[in-house]
C-alpha cells in the first residue's frame, strides 16, 4: 500500500511543473547577512526561493519594510544579473550574488 502511495507521489512530483526554477523571483528568510565594502548588503536566503542576493542602496527599488537588516527577516522580490560584494580587498574576498532589482521585506 505504502509503495503505491509513494509511486503516486513521485508521479505527481514529475507531472506538476517546478515553478521554483525561475530564479529571477526570490523569497525567503535571511540566513546570512554581510555588509560589504562597496556599500551593498550580501544576504543568503533560505527556502522557498533562496540563494545569494545583494541589496544595493543606490540601485534596488525598495518597498516596505525597508532594506535587509537582520537574520530571520523575510525578503521577497525580483533580481537581475550577478553582482560582486567586496568583503575584503587584501586578500581579495568577493561574494557574487544576484543583484536585487526590487524587493519588499518583513518587519
Amino acid at each position: 500500500m505504502r509503495k503505491y502511495a509513494i509511486a503516486i507521489m513521485l508521479l505527481l512530483t514529475l507531472v506538476v511543473p517546478n515553478t521554483a526554477a525561475a530564479a529571477i523571483s526570490f523569497g525567503g528568510p535571511i540566513n546570512t547577512i554581510i555588509g560589504c565594502l562597496n556599500m551593498v548588503t550580501y544576504t543568503v536566503l533560505g527556502p522557498p526561493r533562496g540563494g545569494e542576493y545583494l541589496w544595493s542602496p543606490s540601485i534596488t527599488d525598495t518597498y516596505s519594510f525597508g532594506p535587509p537588516t537582520r537574520r530571520g527577516q523575510w525578503l521577497l522580490g525580483n533580481a537581475g544579473p550577478s553582482y560582486f560584494c567586496l568583503v575584503t580587498v587584501l586578500p581579495l574576498d568577493v561574494r557574487p550574488g544576484w543583484l536585487i532589482m526590487m524587493m519588499g521585506s518583513s518587519r
Binding site: I24, N38, G51, Y83, L86, M101
Partner: protein, 293 residues
C-alpha cells in the same frame, strides 16, 4: 485476509477516483461547450451592435435583384384595398410597381410594427438575430478594459519577461559560476563557463525584439538590450584576470556596468506602472512588478 481487505479498499479508492475524474471531465466538457455557445452568441450580438446603420443597408437588395411581385402572385392581403394609401392595382396585366422599401430598423431593439412586405429573405433578417440574448451585464462588457496601446504594452512586457525568464533558466546559477571562477581563475573550465554566460547575455540582448516595441517602450527596451550586451561583455572581460589586482579592477568595471544596466531595467519596469499595467503571478511580465507582500 487483512491484506486482501486492504487491497480491496485500495481498489475501491482507485475506482472512486476514476469516477470522480470522469465526472469532472464530462462536466468540464459541458462547460466548455456552453461557453463556446455563449461566446458565439455574444460575438454575433457584438457585431450587430457595433455595425453602423449603413451596413444594414447592405442587406437590402438592389432594385434589379428585387423580384417584382406580379399581380397574380400577390398575396391576398396585398390585393385588398388599403384604406389609408393608394389602391393597389389588382388583376392588371402590367406588373405593379414594387412596394416602397421599408427602412431597416436602426437598432436591434426595434420591433417590426407591421407585417413585412419585403421578400422573405429580407424579412427573415429577424431570424438572423441570435435567439439567446445575453444578459444586461454582458451587453455592457464588450468594451475592453485596456486601450490598444495598453494592450500592446502588456503583450510586449509579457514577451520580454518570458525571454528573460528563459535566459535565466538556461544560464543556471550565475553567482555560483562566478564564484567558481574567482576560486579557480586559471582553470579552463571555469573560464569557459563564464565565457558562455557572457555570450548568453549577448544573445539575450539580440533576442529582445526592439523593433516590435510599442512606442513608449522603444527607448527603455533599447537601453535594456544594450545593457544586457554590456553585461555580457563585462562578464567575458573577467576571464583571464588571474591576479587579485587585475580581477579587482575588472570587478569594479563589471559592477559599474551592472549598475547602469539595473537603472535601465528599473526604468523599463516603471513604464508599466506608469500605464497602470499589472501582470499576474506566473505571467512573463511579473518580473517587472514590485513585490506584493
Amino acid at each position: 485476509m487483512i491484506k486482501d481487505n486492504k487491497r480491496l479498499v485500495f481498489i475501491l479508492i482507485l475506482a472512486f477516483m476514476a469516477v470522480v475524474l470522469l465526472s469532472a471531465a464530462i462536466l468540464i466538457k459541458q462547460m466548455i461547450s456552453v461557453t463556446e455557445q455563449e461566446s458565439d452568441t455574444f460575438s454575433n450580438v457584438e457585431v450587430m451592435q457595433t455595425r453602423p446603420v449603413t451596413k444594414y443597408n447592405a442587406f437590402v437588395p438592389r432594385e434589379s435583384d428585387t423580384p417584382k411581385p406580379q399581380a397574380d402572385s400577390l398575396p391576398d392581403w396585398q390585393q385588398t384595398k388599403d384604406t389609408t394609401t393608394q389602391v393597389v392595382v389588382v388583376n392588371n396585366d402590367e406588373p405593379t410597381s414594387p412596394p416602397p422599401t421599408k427602412s431597416m430598423p436602426t437598432t436591434i431593439t426595434d420591433e417590426p410594427k407591421e407585417q413585412s412586405i419585403l421578400p422573405d429573405y429580407i424579412s427573415d433578417l429577424w431570424s438572423w438575430l441570435p435567439t439567446k440574448q445575453p444578459s444586461t451585464s454582458q451587453e455592457q462588457t464588450p468594451t475592453p478594459s485596456k486601450t490598444p496601446l495598453e494592450l500592446a504594452i502588456y503583450d510586449y512586457g509579457n514577451e520580454v519577461g518570458n525571454t528573460i525568464k528563459e535566459f535565466t533558466l538556461k544560464a543556471g546559477d550565475q553567482p555560483q559560476l562566478i564564484q567558481n571562477f574567482v576560486d579557480d581563475r586559471e582553470s579552463q573550465q571555469t573560464g569557459d563557463a563564464l565565457l558562455q554566460l557572457g555570450q548568453q547575455y549577448i544573445t539575450l540582448s539580440e533576442s529582445l525584439k526592439v523593433a516590435q516595441a510599442p512606442i513608449p517602450l522603444v527607448e527603455p527596451v533599447t537601453k535594456l538590450s544594450e545593457g544586457y550586451k554590456k553585461v555580457g561583455e563585462a562578464t567575458i572581460a573577467l576571464v583571464g584576470k588571474v591576479s587579485d589586482k587585475d580581477l579587482l579592477d575588472e570587478i569594479y568595471r563589471y559592477n559599474a556596468t551592472v549598475d547602469e544596466f539595473a537603472k535601465s531595467y528599473i526604468k523599463f519596469a516603471k513604464i508599466f506602472k506608469l500605464y497602470g499595467i499589472k501582470f499576474n503571478k506566473g505571467e512573463g511580465g511579473d518580473i517587472f512588478m514590485p513585490p506584493s507582500l
